[in-house]
């Protein structure tokens, strides 16, 4: 499965849920509605900030490929995995 073949609205977490997150520069993330917290690494932080700015999936891919030395196949796979984990944290913490 590639990111190009996936509907953005399906893969991206709920924008309202993303906006409410309190994200610390340390990578600590707190959801004020559910009361749950989780951590993300440096790359996750970049993605999360981009999502909170309403960035599109392609913008995030470009951002990551310019910052990290990674081929597009691995980047898409890791991004997909991260978005899945993030949605899971927000919906079923």
């Amino acid at each position: 499965m590639t990111l190009d073949s996936i509907d953005e609205q399906v893969i991206l977490p709920d924008p309202m849920a993303l906006k409410r997150l309190a994200v610390s520069e340390s990578g600590f993330v707190f959801d004020p509605v559910s009361g749950h917290s989780f951590t993300v690494n440096e790359t996750g932080l970049v993605i999360l900030h981009a999502l909170q700015r309403d960035s599109r999936l392609n913008d995030i891919r470009e951002l990551l490929s310019s910052d990290y030395d990674v081929d597009s196949q691995n980047l898409d796979r890791d991004l997909l995995e991260f978005l899945g984990s993030l949605s899971n944290q927000l919906e079923h913490p």
């Binding site: 309190a22 707190f30 004020p32 509605v33 559910s34 009361g35 749950h36 079923h92």
Partner: protein, 364 residues
Amino acid sequence: MSAIMVAPNRIAVTGMNARPDNPGPGLAVARCLREAKNYSGKIIGLGYESLDPGLHLPAYCDAGYLLPYPSSGDDAFLERIELIREREQIDSMIPCLDAELPIMTRLAAELEKMGVATFMPTSAQLELRSKDRLDELAGHAGTDAPKTKSVTEAGFFFNCGQQGWHYPFVVKGIFYDAEVVKSAEQGAAAFRRISAQWGLPVLVQEFLEGEEINLTAVGDGKGKMLGAVMMKKLAVTDKGKAWAGISIADERLFDASAALVAATQWKGPLEVEVMRTADGTYQLIEINPRFPAWIYLSAGAGRNLLEVLLQLMRNETPPEMEPAPAGVIYLRYAEDNIVPLADYESVIMHGWRVPVPEPENHKQ
């Protein structure tokens, strides 16, 4: 509406039991009072056992008194309150235990005549939040409620399947206590244990998967909810009581609770317990007609609800308040308190601990 308006200056607070695995709310209420910006009066702790920790903690209670159990009857209760009023000049009381509310509301007029003010739900409101009327309450709140049934005999647990009750489910006391049971034997044992302690009926309730979230606030008696603080448990004791929690900002919980307060014209403190299930539904579990044991979080989050209660008791209008901010954590811990033998002796022999007067030569 109370005929007397008081400026509380000597407040009695009940519920001074504070065992680490299952503390009563009284000590936390006293701590909030100590820190309230609008209160500098005395705090008199009231408990039922000589080793109730709050009776022996001068940092929070200037004096401590034993009460007769509510089952001792109205006369014994009133007689004791009269004695405490004479000795300590108490002018108001904050009940903190579910089992006290029926007797307190029943005797509210007598207490008032005695000069002891309260700000608590009416008997009708208390009846409405009865655990066997959850459906009706949930209707007011716009939430669902777990299926609940009153049970008066242990035989139910052996043929409950015929009535549509399948294990596991929860067995609850009418005032307090709850246990998840997975078989007829466990159910019958829980029934006997809970009914022996809290009386009949015992309730059975559908078991829900999800996470519990709670709200505490004060109803002004005219339909308005004041100073809401919402909390999710982060850690629980063996008895399922919160050991650590974090303030949250859940709009659906807030709206449901505000609707409940408006519909019932709730007067006084309350705690609303809701189960947020995995499929996103909100199930009303219970309403407690008092502050919860985690009430100190309200002070920690900048919404000391005792300040609000005091304003209402003084017939002042509390200012509009946003719900408490999310992300404030409380974490309980147990601490050893050293109790002078004379204090313990006094509680055993007289039923009170009062401050020891300073020696004459120490006075200015």
